[in-house]
């Protein structure tokens, strides 16, 4: 029997309930609802009433401000929202643990939320309200209509099937691929030929493994393809990037080979970085999608070498404008304001819990992102240089899986027969989306770091895309490996071996150990409450052998699995683009016109203050920040990048920044890319970063690469290579996501703006030699350093970056802020906000707003210092800071900073009250 406990907050505001009521009244304009209250519901299975009473009193409710009922429904109209079964509710494990600590053994449990509606409405109307307000996402949650009979998930073990492909016609091969595998005919025929040669048909597991290993996501076929641009041969994109990057290798520890790029730090340490998109899952379930995106990139950083500590997290989102006309939304897509709120909640709930400061990020709004938004998460870490490379598995080494259990999460095929799960009231749901369990992730990180420091680990591998198939296969590629899938701990029964092998369940890692270290490793896992089992052994067979108990369910030669994929030859049309200068049709004339224009710019989504969001992200955990995202007297002036001191007893700094410009890259792939990369390095240098000791991470988010888009991608990569060459610094990690195209019915096609996100990270010897953006003094000199050009002069740029860095190190720069979106007037405005002061400048009308990276606003004490510091590079003295909070642009207008600040802060304050 299931006992149902309902917990009601009696003292203090019921924020959830009041929030719903507020939305019903303000967003839906419905006045008939008088009150909404939110009630927490717990279902406990296998307990007596007395035991239930104990749990309700001691665990589930708070004596001071809550009361509980057991198996008692009093509210008039209630709608309960619960996770669908098979979607793991992270709270369940904690409830089970605490119950056990109290000496009570639960068979199963679940928690959910119930909304009680008061007023003049029917249950049906209440349901409609819940749907309209999107209080749940149908992919992972549901309204509970019927009490479940049991919460225990059951199912029969699935079987392995043979897929006869040796005699299939080309058309049949394609049909098979189209449904499931997404390989082209040539690739399918290579597989067919292989199985003809070895005289048997593949198992489903083998075909799935090949399809996953050869997928665009894992094999990067476009980036590795030979290109024909306008008929002319060009080397593959990846090869070009690597070739240029490895010329600039003075700091590289490892590049393009591990889960994250690694560069040298100080005192025997190295730092690593990685950025990754999680666009597709986030488009359909932004909360789970962004969470698992964060979780995945954190694991990539931790699973570098023999294990790293994650120390910074970054988030970059490209979305449609939150107030976009909803009628523009293509079928099956979510409204942008909903996506915005949910991705922010996800970063908050996941990053904060894992305890990695989220101290850098940005938002970009363009309505062409309405179908396929960009959710890009980055992470940075630190590890001993001596352990920065993965050890190669040796004969007899074992692989253990640690952390979360394996479920049907992330498997593409929703083709299971629900009959196998018929004992469940609610059907086990196969889903591409999961809710992350941050604490599970934290536990495995803790265990890995302790094992690393005890020299137990040969290598760590993340279980991400492709799950075991990818992680075990890749680590065993050279030597061969035998896997025993029946050992994998499962969330619920009913998975077929291929599902276990391909599952992308979160919060799992693979650790490779010499067998003599196994026991000590198990002890560490026990200490941290981490589940661990040995799942594979490296056997020297040079093949991937997979067993389920005694049945062999897969046997593939490594040579074929990793070497059999034919290189693609892809055609591209060379791209032509032109920077749109963004000329103003008519420049303002009167003062009030100027001010109105400035207000409009400061109100714009790309430019307005994101402080309300940053205040919900824990950007201060670990105590390492030496430059916070916001600073200044009111702590409301934004800074350009993050500076952290990863080793608290050392002054060494890790500096992180990024740049992107989807709109410009859409107009002009070459200059848009250069702009993005320049913006990244400018943000980095503006806070005190040394560009000569920086590494780059490039992420390409691109529409599906037909000839035209591939041509633009080719141009973008050329620009990235030119940028590396000009600055003599390398790209050491990156990723591509080439599916930013939406195809709707009736031939409707929407390409998201092509986006190159450049992230920068690097080292400085002393965090004290850095600078913030807030003006520090009254009457000091405001200087513009660098050229004000959209088409960045790559010859001048390194000189400017170098001079500015030297100036910051000299301690003579009081404040510095990079010019970007909104132009120099926005930059100066933000510096005034941080300093609670004003500024008086001379500048031409259009020059105020032109968005030019590689150009900085610098505050110094007096003109002599400015001349001394910047005489060898382009610079211009613009004016002075002043005491009263006014922005005076000589001859054009005088604006009140406080008033501008209100306009600049308003949009996000409204969305995130």
């Amino acid at each position: 029997m299931i006992q149902k406990v309902r917990v009601i907050t009696t003292v203090g505001p019921d924020l959830k309930g009041e929030g719903v009521l507020h939305d019903i009244r303000s967003r839906l304009g419905i006045k008939s609802v008088e009150k909404v209250s939110a009630i927490k519901v717990y279902r406990l299975e296998g307990l007596s009433e007395k035991e239930t009473e104990i749990l309700a009193e001691k665990l589930l409710s708070e004596p001071i401000n809550q009361r509980y009922t057991i198996n008692n429904q009093q509210q008039p109209i209630t709608i309960e929202i619960a996770y669908k079964s098979g979607v793991m509710n992270p709270e369940v494990a904690s409830i089970q643990k605490a119950a056990e600590d109290l000496g009570i053994k639960l068979l199963a449990c679940d928690s959910s939320v119930e909304y009680a509606f008061y007023g003049n409405l029917t249950k049906k109307e209440a349901q409609e309200l819940v749907k309209k307000l999107r209080l749940f996402n149908q992919l992972i949650e549901q309204i509970v209509f019927k009490e479940p009979k049991t919460l225990v998930l059951k199912g029969k073990v699935g079987k392995t099937r043979i897929v006869p492909i040796r005699n299939l016609s080309d058309q049949k091969l394609l049909d098979l691929s189209k449904d499931k595998f997404f390989l082209n005919l040539e690739e399918m025929k290579v597989i067919q030929k292989y199985f003809r040669k070895i005289k048997r048909d593949p198992t489903d597991l083998e075909l799935e493994t090949l399809a996953q290993t050869w997928s665009e996501h894992c094999a990067h076929k476009t980036f590795k393809a030979e290109l024909l641009v306008d008929g002319k041969r060009k080397a593959p994109l990846l090869e070009r990037i690597k070739r240029e990057a490895l010329k600039h290798n003075k700091n590289i520890v490892s590049a393009f080979v591990d889960n994250a790029g690694v560069m040298d730090f100080y005192g025997g340490w190295a730092i690593n970085g990685k950025a990754e998109t999680h666009n597709a899952p986030s488009a359909i379930e932004p909360y789970g999608g962004a969470m698992t995106g964060s979780g995945g990139v954190f694991r990539d950083v931790v699973a570098t070498g023999q294990g790293a500590k994650a120390i910074i997290s970054t988030d970059i989102f490209c979305l449609a404008r939150p107030d976009m006309d909803k009628s523009l939304l293509p079928a099956g897509t979510l409204p942008p304001d909903y996506i915005l709120k949910r991705v922010v909640s996800a970063v908050r709930d996941y990053g904060n819990r894992v305890g990695i400061p989220t101290n850098n990020g940005s938002f970009h709004f363009d309505d062409d992102f309405r179908a396929k938004p960009v959710v890009l998460v980055g992470a940075y870490g630190i590890l001993p240089k001596s352990k920065a490379k993965k050890g190669k598995p040796k004969l007899g080494d074992v692989a253990v899986v640690i952390g979360g259990r394996t479920g049907r999460d992330g498997i593409h095929g929703a083709t299971f027969s629900s009959g196998e799960m018929s004992e469940r009231t609610m059907e086990v749901h196969a889903t591409a989306v999961q809710i992350g369990n941050a604490i599970e992730e934290k536990r495995i990180f803790d265990a890995i770091l302790e094992a690393r420091d005890k020299d137990l680990i040969r290598a760590v591998q993340d279980l991400g895309a492709g799950g075991f198939s990818s992680a075990i296969g890749e680590t065993g590629e050279r030597i061969g490996v035998t896997v025993h899938l029946e050992k994998a701990p499962l969330k619920y029964q009913g998975l077929a071996p291929w599902e276990i092998f391909l599952s992308e369940s979160q919060e799992r890692m693979l650790v490779i150990l010499p067998p003599k270290n196994l026991n000590e490793f198990l002890e560490i896992c026990k200490k941290y409450n981490v589940e661990v089992v040995e799942i594979a052994k490296f056997d020297g067979s040079k093949s991937l052998k997979v067993f389920f108990k005694k049945e062999k369910v897969g046997d593939l030669e490594m040579r074929f699995l990793y070497g059999g994929l034919p290189q693609r030859v892809m055609k591209a049309k060379s791209a032509k683009g032109k920077v749109q200068r963004g000329k103003f049709e008519k420049l303002p004339v009167t003062e009030s016109e100027w001010i109105r224009l400035l207000e409009k710019i400061l109100n714009h989504g790309d430019i307005n203050s994101k402080e309300p969001i940053l205040r919900m992200y824990d950007h201060n955990v670990q105590g390492t920040n030496a430059l916070h995202p916001f600073g200044g007297i009111g702590m409301d002036g934004p800074n350009d990048g993050a500076v952290v001191r990863p080793l608290l007893d050392k002054p060494y700094g890790l500096v992180v920044a990024h740049g992107l410009n989807p709109k410009l890259t859409r107009d002009d792939p070459y200059w848009g890319t250069i702009w993005s990369a320049t913006e990244a390095i400018s943000n980095y240098v503006a806070v005190g970063g040394d560009y000569k000791n920086a590494s780059l991470i490039n992420n390409y988010i691109w529409p599906f690469p037909d000839e035209e888009w591939l041509g633009k991608l080719d141009t973008c990569v050329d620009a990235v290579c030119d940028f590396m060459k000009a600055l003599k610094i390398p790209v050491i990690s990156g990723k591509d996501s080439l599916s930013a195209t939406y195809r709707g019915s009736g031939g409707f096609v929407l390409h998201s703006p092509p986006t190159l996100v450049m992230s920068v990270f690097g080292k400085i010897p002393d965090v004290k030699k850095t600078v913030s953006s807030d003006f520090k003094k009254v009457g000091s000199i405001i200087v513009m350093v660098g050229k004000q050009e959209i088409e960045v002069d790559l010859k001048v740029l390194p000189k400017v970056l170098d001079k500015l860095h030297q100036a910051v190190v000299s301690g003579k720069v009081l404040a510095c802020h990079d010019v970007s979106e909104g132009g120099l007037v926005t930059t100066i405005f933000e510096m005034c906000v941080g300093g609670n002061c004003g500024a008086e400048i001379k500048a031409s009308g259009e020059g105020l707003f032109v968005e030019t990276p590689g150009c900085f606003i610098v505050e110094v004490e007096n003109e002599e210092i400015a001349k001394k510091l910047f005489s060898k590079v382009p610079f211009k003295i613009l004016g002075k800071t002043r005491k009263d909070e006014r922005l005076v642009v000589n001859g054009l207008f005088t604006a009140d900073i406080k008033n501008l600040k209100e306009k600049w802060q308003k949009p996000m304050k409204e969305i995130f009250p």
């Binding site: 001071i64 992270p90 605490a98 600590d101 908050r348 305890g355 105590g623 520090k776």
Partner: protein, 259 residues
């Protein structure tokens, strides 16, 4: 110099342990990480420590309520160990999630292990708050904070920090001088105004002690301001001494004096 042994207690989801370790070490303590499982399996014991420190984080995900699951674990398995530690007059500090645990075990404010007298409820804003606030140190029972102290800047990073109890309890807390820290406004006056009071705590309570004065819990993070560069405005404000330092210094000094 006497060695001051500090137990930095960890659980699943503890995440401010490294900076707390660093803070104690910086001021001369000898911190050691101890996972709660090591106390449960008796491979380590509180007997060997002078100070028990519960760091911030999200113990067990803050599931059900913040610090709740960890509090139940401590009451269920380590009641005797904690009682013994109190008998031998050890000091206890809980920061953020550690404070939430101390309140939910009942140790704060009245030292009733196993019975909650107050709670730390969801912030009035309804969400996590990451910002800097100003704190005033009250003349309280806290045995190791008996001097005169300036108002200081402290980081807060929490979603459930609203100190809440009934009126009688609040009166008792005040008359017994158990409030150690209060959120204050620009003029140094206790405030209920957001965001200077980031959570809506009653009587602007940011931290409290128990009647013995040996247990201290607070929502803000003194361990995140023991070096100058940890404060966002170190470039523009003169910081003679990082504002979180005195708590660790005083705890260590107190143990040295009385050990």
């Amino acid at each position: 110099m006497k060695i001051v042994n500090v137990c930095i207690l960890q659980s699943d989801g503890t995440n401010c342990d490294n900076e707390l370790f660093y803070a104690f070490k910086k001021f001369g303590g000898s911190p050691q990480f101890v996972h709660v499982n090591e106390l449960r399996d008796k491979s380590k014991s509180l007997k060997n420590f002078d100070i028990l420190a519960l760091p911030g984080g999200f113990s067990y995900g803050d599931d059900v309520a913040s610090g709740k699951i960890w509090a139940i674990e401590l009451i269920s398995f380590l009641r005797k160990e904690i009682e013994d530690f109190r008998k031998k007059e050890g000091l206890i500090i809980g920061i953020c999630n550690g404070f939430q645990v101390l309140v939910r075990t009942g140790l704060l404010p009245f030292g009733n292990l196993g019975k909650m007298d107050a709670t730390l409820a969801t912030n009035d804003s309804g969400h996590f708050e990451c910002r800097w606030v100003d704190l005033k140190v009250e003349k309280s029972k806290c045995i190791f904070l008996q001097g005169d102290y300036n108002i200081g800047h402290f980081a807060v990073n929490h979603g459930e920090g609203k100190f809440l109890c009934n009126i009688e309890t609040l009166k008792k807390v005040e008359t017994q001088k158990l409030v150690v820290f209060r959120y204050v406004d620009e003029n140094g006056k206790p405030t209920q105004k957001y965001p200077k009071n980031p959570n809506g705590s009653l009587n602007a309570t940011a931290g409290a002690t128990d009647p013995t004065g040996r247990v201290l819990g607070l929502m803000p993070h003194p361990e995140k301001f023991v070096d100058v560069t940890q404060y966002p405005n170190w470039r523009r404000e003169k910081i003679a001494k990082p504002h979180g330092s005195f708590i660790f210094e005083n705890m260590i000094k107190f143990v040295r004096k009385t050990k």
